[in-house]
């Protein structure tokens, strides 16, 4: 099977219109995969959709990795700390040739290891997660070793904004700043929600740039659905030599599906087969999905 050849940003190829179109088409197919995983047990659909564009972009144009190099010590590392978004990663893996797309139908079956959080039985997954606030620390360890070995690969850690409640994140921010880990890039999927409500209504995070700056990071803020803005940020790091880089990506929870966008009650949902068909239509601009399934907030 031939997989599309993805030229990485860091090899110096500027994003042109056809690159952007390809990213958009891949992201649509990834969203289809995410929607299909939201039935027969359900999944964390809202947060998976918010970071889907970022993950497609990272694997397509930034990360120095390929399905053939998942064990290469010189690869870039991507760590999904907000593990409940793993449908976005698995959808991307299916589209970019890391796993066979047919495996996604095994979601929540005992014949495979595709469930609500990532695990290393799936090729390409660097580390398991699901318990929030762990992978920044793990990423720091990988980044420290890369420094020790004096190689040029990088570590990217995707954090959730709700996840920033966890104290371990702020310990990690202090430690990464103290060690000047400029080979470490953290991305906050700033979709504005934690499980049940808006972050600013519970444990306000803003001004977020100031917090990370004060902890020793170099910070940029972008629109996490705009590939041009991603391109500008991800080609420019480390933003400052000797400092870890933080990219706050403003996103929309449920992005791509108006019937669930930015709704606090559509975090984890187990849709019916009919609703899945409606959501797929909605994704492609054919009508609005009339959703009746009970909203499941917290697992």
């Amino acid at each position: 099977m031939e997989f599309p050849h993805h030229l990485k940003v860091q090899s110096g190829n500027a994003m042109n219109a056809s690159d952007k179109q390809e990213l958009q088409q891949t992201a649509i197919r990834v969203r289809e995969h995410i929607i299909r995983m939201a039935t027969d047990g359900g999944c964390f659909i809202g947060a998976s959709l918010s970071c889907a564009d970022l993950i497609v972009y990272l694997y397509s144009r930034v990360l120095d990795i390929s399905p053939q190099r998942v064990s290469d010590p010189g690869r870039d590392y991507f760590l999904l700390s907000k593990g409940h978004d793993v449908p976005a990663v698995y959808g991307t893996f299916a589209e970019l040739g890391y796993i066979n797309a047919a495996r996604l139908a095994n979601h929540l079956h005992t014949n495979d290891s595709i469930y609500w959080h990532p695990n290393r039985d799936i090729p390409g997954v660097e580390f398991h997660s699901g318990s929030l606030g762990h992978l920044l620390s793990v990423g720091i360890g990988v980044a420290l070793d890369i420094k020790l070995r004096k190689t040029s690969n990088k570590v990217y850690v995707m954090l959730g904004d709700g996840e920033l409640n966890e104290g371990s994140i702020w310990e990690g921010c202090l430690v990464a700043g103290a060690h000047g880990l400029d080979n470490l890039v953290a991305i906050v999927d700033r979709n504005g929600f934690q499980a049940n409500m808006r972050t600013e209504d519970l444990i306000p995070l803003e001004p977020l740039e100031d917090k990370f700056t004060a902890f020793g990071w170099s910070v940029r803020r972008i629109n996490g659905h705009a590939y041009e803005e991603m391109e500008a940020a991800f080609t420019g790091h480390p933003f400052e030599k000797g400092k870890p880089s933080m990219i706050i990506a403003d996103t929309v929870r449920g992005k791509g599906l108006p019937s669930i966008e930015a709704r606090p009650d559509r975090w984890f949902v187990n849709f019916t087969a009919e609703e899945i068909d409606m959501l797929l239509d909605e994704l492609h601009g054919i009508g609005d999905a009339a959703l009746k399934s009970e909203s499941l907030y917290v697992r």
Binding site: L108, Y115, H128, G162, L296, V298
Partner: protein, 318 residues
């Protein structure tokens, strides 16, 4: 009655009770308008929540604290042991989706050592209700106790009518002398299904819902050890530190000996999937438990005559 209705009634009656959560609101969603400031959501900060609960308890409050069982008992473990355990303050810890109930979440969410950890902290009492009725019957007693407590939250529908709850007492749901099955939590449902199948095989079976794991009903365990041919423990917990350990402690203390079949997770996490698939895969459905129990009896030649009565259905599994 629901868990939320009970908490509403208790908080209305006793203003010492405050409800806390680390943004796990599934079990307490409707409470905010009724409780106002007495519902304290600290966000996803389990350690801070436990420290704050100890501070509230220091001021005379009885905090009822909610988080997923794994993050509550593991991430905040040292805070529970140090701030709640050493002080002995009456903080009531409610752990959600314990054991198999974390179904498709994966090992990060599988609380399979929570009971071992919580019972290891000197003043903490431990309870594992078998269903919603069992839990609601226990809660007023747990909240009235001056001790800290850990509860495996379980609001699944009841399949039996329970006897009145008392801290430190188990309930015996069926009588028998061939097999005694000791269990806790929602697996009672599967154990009762197994009891029906075993009875159809001509075996009498004593089903014991332990409910209160600390203090433990040692008398009911000692009686089962004396009366029954085989003791079976069924739990969604690691074998280490669970019922096998508890039984061993009781047997050593009382110089008892018995044949025990431990059915638990043997040093591994379970396969994540929807709950029905998990039970099937891991061999915890009523029929799978029955097969495992019959196989244990067959392996012990002293119990051979019992096996002669078995139906062909189960003989085909063995």
């Amino acid at each position: 009655m629901t868990y939320e209705e009970l908490l509403r009634a208790i908080t209305a009656e006793d203003d010492r009770v405050v409800i806390m959560t680390a943004e796990n609101r599934a079990a307490i969603r409707s409470l905010q308008p009724h409780l106002g400031d007495r519902l304290i959501d600290v966000g996803i900060s389990e350690m801070t929540m436990i420290g704050a609960a100890a501070g509230l308890a220091l001021r005379g409050r009885i905090p009822v604290v909610h988080a997923l069982a794994t993050f509550l008992t593991l991430r905040a473990f040292e805070f529970i042991r140090t701030d709640v355990g050493i002080s002995g303050l009456p903080v009531k810890l409610i752990g959600a989706v314990p054991g198999f109930l974390s179904d498709g979440n994966g090992p990060t969410h599988q609380a399979l050592e929570d009971i071992a950890l919580m019972r290891g902290i000197p003043p903490i009492q431990v309870f594992a209700p078998s269903d919603n009725d069992d839990m609601l019957a226990a809660l007023p007693h747990i909240l009235a106790s001056p001790d800290p407590a850990y509860v495996r939250f379980n609001n699944m529908p009841a399949h039996v009518v329970h006897t009145p709850f008392k801290i430190g007492k188990a309930e015996v749901l069926t009588e028998g002398t061939d097999v005694a099955i000791l269990t806790y939590g929602f697996l009672l449902r599967e154990v009762l299904a197994a009891e029906t199948l075993l009875r159809a095989e001509g075996l009498t079976c004593r089903v014991i819902n332990l409910r209160s794991l600390k203090p433990l009903d040692e008398e009911v365990i000692a009686s089962a050890a004396r009366d029954c041919t085989l003791l079976v423990t069924v739990e969604d917990h690691f074998v280490t530190g669970g019922l096998t350990t508890m039984l061993a402690e009781v047997f050593l203390r009382r110089r008892l000996i018995a044949d025990v079949l431990p059915i638990a997770l043997e040093h591994r996490w379970f396969k994540p999937a929807t709950l029905d698939r998990v039970l099937e895969y891991e061999g915890f459905t009523g029929s799978a438990l029955t097969v495992r129990i019959l196989r244990a009896l067959e392996n012990d030649r002293r119990k051979g005559p019992i096996l002669d009565q078995m139906s062909s259905l189960f003989k085909t599994y063995l």
